[in-house]
Amino acid sequence: MSTGTASNRPRYAPLAPDPRARAHLLVTDHQDIAEAAFAPGIGLADFPERWDVVAHARVLPEPFGGPGVQHFRSASHLLALLRHRLAAETMGLRLYVTGSEPFVWDAARVAIEAGMGREEMRLFATGKPVRRVSCVHCRTINPGVTTTLVTCAGCGVVLTVRDHFSRVHNAWMGVQCDAEVPGEVPAIEDLSA
């Protein structure tokens, strides 16, 4: 199985508000957004409405509100309310998402299901590469993978993490690395950004 340099890896562009949009909503799965997530000259102040995650339950965010910051209890909590917010929105909204790659594509999925096109969202994954790997043999999702090889939690084979990503499944493809000669396992490396 060749990994080579060919890939459908998503390319992320640093975020900047779309001047043609009617309204903007920035969501993230943590609190402090890195400067690198923004285009040069752009910062938090350019996004009047922002949702973030505080990782505790002592908040009650306003999902249909206007300018300001809303704090959510977890990424799941944020995404659930995002679904409701988008169902009530009108055309002209842009959604900006930054955070871990799995979160970014979970949010993109909510937006797609609400009828938004790819041009209506801007995505920027941050942090060390951490991947959800779908074992193509047994369909188990192996979360939190940071290396080029992972032992599948479902069927036990050692998977090579192919550079082939599904936006629909929000997962990378894992294929047995030593199917041709059992035990002939390549060297394990960290995933490169």
């Binding site: 055309m91 909204l93 009828g115």
Partner: protein, 316 residues
């Protein structure tokens, strides 16, 4: 797959439905089934020119399309008609034979739309009728705003066969229609489809863009840019001059002149038919040459490209 491109049709009915509108019902000349079509598709009819000039190729949206019952189009008599629509209104009669292209769709409904907003003006009602028929069958969410000349409001109401509770609005004249407010009120996931005078379509595009709609959610009627102006092609090395007609490709003209030249995809993508240009300015319509190559003007893909200059000289 043998050239299914040309359909041989026969006029089954032709009825005036308004002073400048004629509905024509076409069936297969041999009574065979016709290709099915998706709403938004059009066919291109070959219509005779007065005094035996080169025929017209006029595109008309299919108001309805059934493989056994046939096709329906509605033709507006155009003031600026070079003769095509005039022929349909004044000469066309049941029993007449007409050649047509197979249906082609450049104005299709989007599969991911949560709601379809239809905005038509005048003869632009024709794709709207096809869309409404289909969306009703699917139980899909839609809303139609059709601008009509006051005298034609009744005709369009009859064509659209309004049902209770449907969001179909026929506006007498353009002023009655609040485009900006309409677009601003649409829920996320709406796609807008517009057909009618260029001014209306441009207005819908501009208003949608100003309200932050992405381009992929705005669709306008498009019959495609087939053919162009005729020009003279000179094959310098062979010493041959070829007249390329407006409705044939450069490659077809070269082949018709009996000159052997390579080709493969015949769609501007593979590069096999590429020829060197020594004089004249090519009009590039291919997907193969780079921006730089197009600018230099020394190469051309004869399967799809044409000429800006009256004469184009190739080094073959």
């Amino acid at each position: 797959m043998t050239n299914a491109r040309t359909l041989h049709l026969k006029v089954a009915r032709a009825d005036g439905i308004a002073p400048t509108l004629r509905r024509v019902h076409l069936v297969a000349a041999d009574g065979a089934r016709l290709p099915p079509a998706a709403p938004g598709a059009h066919i291109t009819l070959t219509l005779p020119a007065p005094a035996g000039g080169r025929p017209f190729h006029n595109s008309y949206t299919l108001v309805s399309a059934d493989p056994e019952a046939g096709y329906e189009v509605i033709v507006r008599l155009s003031d600026r008609s070079r003769g095509g629509s005039r022929h349909v209104h004044e000469s066309l009669a049941p029993g007449d034979m007409i050649e047509a292209t197979a249906p082609h769709n450049l104005f299709a409904l989007h599969s991911q739309a949560k709601k379809h907003l239809l905005i038509g003006g005048g003869i632009g009602v024709t794709p709207m009728i096809a869309f409404v028929t289909y969306l009703r069958e699917q139980g899909a969410s839609f809303e139609l705003h059709q601008i009509a000349a006051p005298a034609e409001v009744g005709v369009f109401e009859a064509l659209l066969a309004l049902r209770t509770g449907e969001r179909i609005h026929i506006h007498a004249g353009r002023d009655a229609f609040g485009l900006t407010a309409l677009l601003a009120a649409q829920p996320l996931g709406t796609h807008v489809y517009t057909c009618g005078p260029a001014g209306l379509m441009d207005g819908v595009e501009a208003s949608a863009a100003a309200l932050g709609w992405p381009e992929t959610h705005v669709h306008r009627e498009d019959f495609g840019a087939a053919g162009g102006e005729p020009f003279v092609l000179r094959l310098a090395a062979s010493g041959i001059d070829i007249a390329v007609a407006g409705d044939q490709t450069m490659l077809e003209a070269i082949e018709a002149a009996g000159v052997d030249t390579p080709s493969l995809c015949r769609g501007g993508a593979c590069g096999v038919c590429m020829l060197p240009v020594s004089e004249g300015t090519p009009e590039h319509r291919d997907h193969y040459l780079s921006e730089a190559e197009r600018g230099a003007g020394c190469l051309v893909m004869p399967c799809v490209s044409r000429s800006r200059s009256a004469t184009l000289v190739l080094d073959i």
